[in-house]
């Protein structure tokens, strides 16, 4: 970078510059707002009809009519701001956030692209119809629409690129961790194996020495050593599992027994309850070992977020051929400023965390062609969570 050069342009400034979008364009758009606004509803209905009636594109919309209603509202606001501006940096940041939402719900780039074009064609038709008697104005205003929609497309593409880059960074990080993990895991297995077998031998000795008891404190501490070794081994197993990236061996099993497996592996404190609405006949097609690890990690996180006391609420509903699990705790929720990073390998907010758990969960879900995400917090988004949702809600679709 040339340090003495002019201040670097922001992404938005650069593309505005490129498409030559000016204050006159903003003004032209604003002027025509009263004429185009009445057409928003049919444009939006057409937009979502195209997505919803398409088998593949509709897959990213799993929330039923309520979600569609929310998305339509978002698109209405989006169109309103598109035309009314102001087209400043704040505008850009907001648009980028909406773009990220499309990435998050998994709307493929090709559908985003063609859907944007639908909006363009419909909007331009309205402009042509309205300004036909004034050819010059018509051409200036339609050019302004072309430009602003080019900008929007560039912003959308940028958010898809950002997400790809972030996935790449995560993959690189995982590869690095993998190399470390294999070496360190092996090195730690042996010392832990020695401790474990020594505990076994000590227990035997104590048992035979003091038939019917022995010093309860000594036994307590031996148990404690044994339990801590198990915990350390679990961390290593997670780490190695993350590094190894084993392909899942999927079999049909009931969602209930999957959750039970996860709960038993999590070894939750006594004061943690799990309430769920899973029907006995709900089945999933999963690798039981891997997916129980996912739920076990989520339960452990939830228990920690609630300081070892409270209820984990699980709600399920069908999502196409898959099942959606919403796992909500009663903790403080995930702070907004870290929410987008929690699935990154080695990222942690816990004093004793390794940053492996959630990245392992994501990797396992990816291998299952499923998804795991953090539901937006009620306060910051109008998506309605369950009534009990005060804390963090993780959404697993598998």
């Amino acid at each position: 970078m040339d340090q003495a050069g002019p201040p670097a342009l922001t992404f938005f400034e650069r593309i505005k510059d490129y498409v030559r979008f000016t204050a006159e364009d903003s003004a032209a758009l604003l002027e025509v707002l009263p004429a185009v606004q009445p057409h928003f509803v049919p444009i939006i209905d057409d937009f979502y009809d195209a997505i919803l009636t398409h088998q593949d594109a509709s897959k990213s919309i799993t929330g039923g009519p309520e979600q569609v209603a929310r998305l339509k509202k978002t698109l209405t606001d989006w169109l309103l701001e598109l035309v009314s501006g102001p087209h400043d940096e704040e505008y850009f940041l907001k648009r980028a956030r909406i773009g990220r939402m499309h990435v998050r719900i998994g709307l493929a780039q090709e559908y985003m692209f063609t859907a944007m074009n639908r909006i363009r064609v419909r909007l331009l038709n309205v402009v042509y119809g309205h300004l036909m008697p004034w050819p010059e104005k018509c051409s200036a205003t339609s050019r302004a629409f072309e430009k602003i929609l080019d900008l929007e497309l560039a912003i959308m593409l940028e958010t898809y690129r950002e997400s790809l880059l972030s996935a790449n960074r995560a993959a690189e990080r995982l590869a690095t961790i993998g190399q470390f993990a294999a070496g360190i895991g092996h090195e730690l297995r042996n010392p832990l194996g020695v401790v474990e077998s020594s505990v076994f031998l000590l227990r035997q000795r104590l048992g035979s020495q003091a038939e019917g008891g022995g010093d309860p404190k000594v036994l307590k501490h031996i148990d404690r050593i044994g339990n801590e070794v198990k915990r350390a081994n679990k961390t290593i197993t997670d780490l190695l599992e993350l590094a190894r990236n084993r392909a899942p061996t999927r079999e049909a099993m009931s969602a209930q027994s999957l959750l039970e497996l996860g709960a038993s592996a999590a070894n939750l404190p006594e004061k943690i309850d799990i309430s769920h609405d899973v029907a006995p006949e709900t089945n999933v097609l999963v690798d039981a070992g891997q997916m129980s690890q996912v739920f076990s990690n989520l339960f452990i996180n939830a228990a920690q977020a609630m300081n070892g006391k409270g209820t984990i609420h699980i709600k399920t509903r069908p999502a196409g051929t898959k099942v959606e699990f919403r796992i909500t705790d009663e903790g403080p929720g995930v702070p907004l400023d870290v929410a987008h990073r929690i699935f990154e390998p080695l990222f942690t907010t816990k004093a004793k965390g390794t940053g492996i758990g959630l990245s392992l969960c994501r990797r396992i879900l990816e291998a299952h062609e499923g998804t795991i995400s953090l539901a937006p917090h009620k306060k910051h988004d109008d998506e309605t969570l369950g009534a009990e949702a005060r804390g963090a809600t993780f959404v697993v679709v598998v």
Partner: protein
């Protein structure tokens, strides 16, 4: 504890000698007779001196690895039942150990009960035991 009927002789090989010794001590407690070796080379030097009934070895060793040790033992028609312990239970490691003639491959950290069961099994069925465990012992 069930005592083994005869004093069956087990050779335990691990370069982490404390682990080998602990395993040996546990087996002693179960009525086996054990010897410890710290490397494949040491094990190979040990084997001709006395008759063993089974071999338990780590996979990763300095010098020859566990699979190569087993292959060397089995080279001259010796059918000594062998069990491999490994921190890596990926397909390749398991395959290598099995091809060399390991009856059982156990993941590290070795679950003691699983080890005792597996040892009993290979002693019963010999080196060709078809059981290969690749699942982590702690689930």
């Amino acid at each position: 504890m069930v005592q083994a009927p005869h004093l069956l002789r087990i050779l335990v090989v691990d370069d982490h000698v404390e682990l080998a010794e602990n395993i040996a001590e546990i087996l002693d407690g179960q009525g086996y007779y054990t010897e410890v070796a710290e490397s494949a080379e040491q094990a190979l030097a040990c084997l001709p001196k006395q008759a063993f009934d089974a071999l338990i070895t780590d996979f990763r060793l300095p010098g020859l690895n566990g699979a190569e040790l087993i292959a060397a033992v089995h080279q001259h028609g010796n059918t000594l039942p062998c069990l491999v312990m490994s921190a890596f239970t990926d397909q390749e490691t398991v395959e290598q150990a099995r091809t060399a003639g390991a009856g059982v491959v156990l993941p590290k950290p070795v679950n003691i009960q699983a080890l005792l069961v597996a040892l009993h099994q290979i002693l019963e069925t010999g080196a060709d035991a078809a059981l290969v465990s690749t699942k982590p012992a702690t689930v």
